[in-house]
């Protein structure tokens, strides 16, 4: 898998049909034998032409993936957002200790006294606390746990 492109594409990289495909396909396709057929018809494209456009948009990094979005928690995993206030002079050393844990799925530096925010991903819920405790022992710094208490339905859509 190629790394995620983090810079904007040139304004003319996508035409209006490409943009319509992105806007429409964020909402989900039907679970049928030919899931692209109805959308292709709506857009006045052959099925193969629609698929070729999706492929091309994936190649230039406009689309990151096509497929099912799985809810990791519904599948039995345990996840927890964590934060630490790391002194600037120790930041890189603490980052190395934290990132060494395979349970640390991603980690961001953020603009706040709590300047290190990471997600622990474990198979079982008990492992979250164990991993956080281990990080506290290794770094000598408190790890604050921010587990999800409620997840709201998301209306996020990118307008291409």
């Amino acid at each position: 898998m190629t790394p995620l492109r983090r810079t904007p594409l040139a304004p003319d990289a996508l035409d209006t049909t490409d943009r319509a495909i992105i806007n429409r396909m964020q909402d989900g396709l039907p679970l049928v034998s030919h899931p692209f057929a109805a959308l292709a018809k709506d857009l006045g494209l052959e099925e193969d032409a629609l698929i070729a456009r999706i492929q091309a948009m994936r190649e230039i990094g406009a689309i990151t993936r096509f497929g099912p979005f799985y809810d990791a928690e519904a599948m039995g995993g345990a996840f927890c957002l964590c934060a630490m206030a790391v002194p600037a002079t120790r930041f890189d050393a603490v980052m190395t200790l934290v990132n060494a844990h395979p349970e640390v799925a991603h980690n961001y530096e953020r603009t706040h006294r709590l300047n290190m925010w990471f997600v622990l991903a474990c198979e079982k819920a008990a492992q979250i606390k164990q991993t956080a405790d281990r990080i506290e022992r290794e770094t000598g710094l408190p790890v604050l746990l921010f587990p999800k208490e409620h997840e709201f339905f998301i209306g996020f859509r990118v307008t291409a």
Binding site: R5, I22, G76, E149, F152
Partner: protein, 161 residues
């Protein structure tokens, strides 16, 4: 929740995505040695159970110009948190929205990730949320990411962890 073995095999085969072919479920079925209809039925059942949120494309919002994002955090009256959080999550520019526990020195219970074309736009959108929350919001802040320190290939969700 226990996940049946066939579902696990379907999940393992498709976490990286579906093949871009006219009949992608038939291709997955051929990998697993089961009929196409079985794959479609099991995926429909998983969608009904919430294990699959939807089958869709993931646009790369950076490539499409949404390069600025901030984690906005809000101290909301607990009695209104579910109702107001639902309204914030429904906004088209919010990609993740959760209630989380408060902590020592951290009064915020509502987290909403805001995406915009630049930081000024993110601040404007944050002000829209503040207006929506009104007096039920006692304090707020926004944390911008300055560096990605680690990112693994966890692709099971949309990052809504």
């Amino acid at each position: 929740m226990t996940i049946p073995d066939l579902d696990r095999r379907i999940i393992a085969a498709t976490t990286g995505g579906l093949p871009l072919t006219p009949a992608p479920f038939a291709e997955v079925a051929s990998w697993l040695g089961v009929p196409e209809g079985t794959v479609i039925d099991r995926m429909a059942a998983m969608q009904g159970a919430g294990v699959i949120r939807r089958v869709a494309i993931a646009p790369n919002h950076y490539a499409l110009g949404l390069t600025a994002n901030g984690m906005s955090v809000w101290d909301i009256d607990d009695a209104r948190a579910i109702d107001l959080g639902a309204q914030v999550g429904a906004l088209s520019f919010v990609s993740h929205c959760y209630l989380r526990p408060r902590a020592d020195g951290w009064p915020y219970n509502l987290f909403a990730m805001i995406h915009g074309h630049n930081r000024d736009e993110v601040e404007t959108l944050r002000a829209q949320i503040a207006t929506l929350l009104g007096p039920s919001c006692r304090a707020s802040d926004i944390l911008y990411s300055t560096r990605i320190l680690k990112k693994t290939g966890l692709r099971l969700t949309e990052g809504g962890l």
